[in-house]
């Protein structure tokens, strides 16, 4: 088999891919005709900044390989996936693929609450590139795998979110492309179902299909992939054996030694500068918690008008256990250039005993990172409460205060 592979052409050739985004002064917001006309009348150009989400990415993938793409938020992973999935074109470079690509950037794309389980299977399957006959022939297997046969003719809106997810993944699991691209879709659902999905993906790989898997979850990546690509700031840092690549990723993430938080900004874009930041009014890189609550206070300088959102992730052994942010997509905080102060409050969910750390990501909705601070240490947590704990929960901030004014409660 090995010898055979030597003579085969690579199934994917990625040649010097770069992707440039234009950040308008209205970054993150939507372009409006009114603003466009106003600008034309004033005869002035709005401030535009180029942002290279990816720069000169090249690598090849052999048939049957499984490659994990890892990197921090803002490293360009999602952009690379979008280009490979043809959702957005590269600015320069080319990709030659010698097989049918199916991408799972999300499970259950196009699911509609008014349609029944059966109807959703057909629509979603078709979206993922399956032919109607293909869906029909695999229909029973899909339903079997999902375990929701009793509700097949019930509108999706009456499904629990767990059932929706099972159904969604089951459709995707029966895709038969030569190349399967998977985003962190596994980061949802209960542990049992996650294991089932992972097993299914291993099977897919064993059948000789090629897998590209993007995840923050190092244990999963190691489990599924043999090769790894480590991205940083839109460039390839390392490429090779997954063990080595994962090790290097982890060393990038060594918990910050004592010191001021503000000196531990790992990444910061040109127009966003953190001046001061505290967690629970503490400036250091390891913090204390009282009453299960965390507050983040940040003062920053913005050089362009932009949307600024903060995501806080709590992790244990490189796995996220809880995330906070603007996940309900309420109005985004759009700010004018200048100095701003934001403060966020949250109440911690019940966590199992153990050692946790925190990642902070400043983002705007185009999923480009503005800045990040990672691996802020929390004190060892002891929890005698044996109530089951929410895993991978995503919650909204309980309180957001902008420049002294309460904007979200």
């Amino acid at each position: 088999m090995q010898i055979l592979l030597e003579f085969m052409k690579p199934i994917l050739e990625i040649q010097n891919i770069s992707k440039k985004y234009r950040i308008h002064h209205l970054a993150g917001g939507y372009l409006s005709l009114r603003e466009r006309m106003m600008n034309a009348l004033k005869l002035e150009r709005s401030e535009v900044e180029d942002f290279w989400a990816l720069k000169d990415i090249s690598f090849t993938v052999q048939p049957g390989e499984s490659i994990g793409i890892i990197g921090r938020n803002g490293a360009g992973k999602s952009t690379l996936l979008k280009i490979l999935s043809r959702i957005t074109p590269p600015t320069t470079g080319a990709i030659i693929s010698r097989g049918r690509i199916a991408s799972l950037l999300e499970v259950g794309t196009g699911f509609h609450p008014e349609l029944t389980g059966r109807e959703n299977i057909f629509f979603n399957g078709s979206l993922l590139g399956m032919k109607r006959r293909e869906i029909q022939s695999k229909f029973d297997e899909i339903v079997d795998f999902s375990g929701v046969e009793k509700f097949l003719d019930t509108p999706l809106k009456h499904f629990s979110s767990g059932m929706q997810l099972r159904l969604a993944f089951s459709v995707a699991a029966f895709l038969e492309p030569e190349i399967l691209i998977i985003d962190e879709v596994l980061a949802v659902g209960d542990a049992d179902f996650q294991r089932k999905c992972l097993g299914k993906m291993e099977d897919v790989n064993k059948q000789g299909r090629t897998i590209l898997f993007v995840s923050h979850n190092i244990p999963y990546v190691k489990n599924l992939c043999r090769q790894g690509v480590l991205l940083r700031d839109g460039k390839i840092l390392t490429i090779g054996n997954i063990e080595d690549v994962a090790d290097q990723y982890l060393t990038l993430n060594v918990p910050a030694k004592e010191g001021k938080l503000v000196n531990h900004v790992v990444y910061s874009c040109d127009f966003f500068e953190i001046k001061e930041i505290t967690l629970n009014q503490q400036e250091s890189t390891s913090i204390h918690i009282e009453d299960n609550s965390i507050s983040v206070d940040v003062t920053f300088l913005l050089k362009l008008e932009s949307v600024v959102e903060l995501e806080l992730h709590i992790k244990k052994d490189e796995e996220y256990v809880a995330s906070f942010g603007n996940f309900l997509r309420e109005d985004f905080v759009k700010l004018s250039p200048g100095l701003h102060h934001l403060s966020y409050r949250l109440t911690l969910p019940d966590l199992l005993s153990g050692k946790y750390s925190i990642d902070l990501f400043f983002t705007h909705p185009k999923k480009m990172g503005l800045a990040s601070i990672e691996n802020i240490g929390l004190p060892e947590l002891v929890n005698n409460n044996l109530k089951p704990v929410l895993e991978n929960s995503s919650k909204n901030w309980s309180k957001v205060i902008l420049n002294g004014k309460l904007i979200r409660n």
Binding site: Y21, Y30, L31, S32, L33, R34, R36, P63, K82, I83, L84, S85, R86, I87, T88, P89, P90, T91, T92, G93, A94, I95, I96, S97, R98, G99, R100, I101, S103, L105, E106, T109, G110, H112, E114, L115, E119, F122, F123, S126, L127, L128, K131, R132, E178, G208, K366
Partner: protein
């Protein structure tokens, strides 16, 4: 593993090539989009399919009462209800198709951002949903023709599908254009209902063009892409085309719209995921 797979090359956007072959390959998805939208639309209304029939019927009643009876507007020797209904059939296809299509890309943004397929599938399926409504209302139209003992020329069998086809093409052209504009400029959607309203009065749905006295104005009205479709659709009933030059003007305008619409759509297509 078979070696017969073809190479696909992903490159920076090439704005001017249409890949109709690819579109054809995705015809099943087009069917599923249409099927989904029809299902959802009629699941959400109490009256279901009846709504597609009831709406033009009510409109016909209102227009007949005000314009036919009260104002006595001429109707090319047809009973006024038949005249209005034949116009409304085509007009409703255009206005629902156009409204659906122009919102379609934004409404399906979550899909566009996650999965690749030729984006043109979405506006085409929106127009296809309007064609479905048209067919429902058309059944009622044939009933009306019988009730009014309206003679129909034999060539209706040929002319009606052509009129329908033309209406679909012109709707798609403008629809694709508006869909792309709507993704790019989010405040554009406020313009669309207004645009449809204005076009309604500029198109001879409820009155014949001959009612206007200035030829310049008549040419202007003929520029409405639906003019030709409606004229053509009424041809088997009236046995006359009001004015051949107007007819050609309308055809040319529709063709132009289709070209401009498709090119603009194509030009912005690759970046929909970034805008949406």
């Amino acid at each position: 593993m078979n070696q017969s797979y073809s190479e696909t090359i992903i490159e920076p956007a090439n704005r001017l090539s249409f890949n109709f072959k690819e579109l054809w390959k995705y015809r099943e998805l087009l069917y599923f989009f249409t099927w989904r939208d029809i299902k959802i639309k009629y699941k959400q209304t109490v009256l279901g399919f009846l709504w597609a029939i009831l709406q033009p019927l009510l409109m016909m009643g209102i227009f007949t009462f005000f314009f036919g009876r009260a104002l006595n507007i001429p109707s090319q020797n047809l009973p006024y209800p038949i005249y209005v209904f034949s116009g409304l059939l085509i007009w409703n296809l255009f206005s629902t198709g156009l409204t659906n299509a122009s919102n379609s890309m934004v409404n399906n943004a979550n899909i566009i951002k996650k999965i690749y397929f030729p984006r043109l599938v979405i506006p085409i399926s929106s127009v296809a949903v309007a064609v479905f409504d048209f067919l429902m209302a058309f059944v009622l139209f044939t009933v009306l023709l019988v009730i009014y003992h309206q003679p129909i020329a034999w060539f209706a069998i040929v002319i009606w599908p052509i009129a329908l086809g033309w209406a679909v093409i012109a709707t798609l052209g403008l629809g694709a254009w508006l869909a792309a504009l709507n993704v790019k400029y989010r405040d554009f959607r406020y313009v669309i209902p207004f645009l449809v309203q204005v076009l309604f009065f500029l198109t001879p749905v409820i009155y014949p063009v001959s009612l206007l006295q200035y030829p310049v104005l008549q040419y202007l009205l003929a520029a409405s892409p639906m003019y030709a479709a409606i004229e053509l659709f009424r041809y088997p009933l009236t046995n006359q085309i009001t004015s051949l030059p107007f007819f050609y003007v309308s055809l040319a305008c529709g063709m132009l719209l289709l070209l401009v619409g498709l090119f603009y759509f194509k030009k912005t297509e690759d970046f929909f995921a970034d805008f949406a």
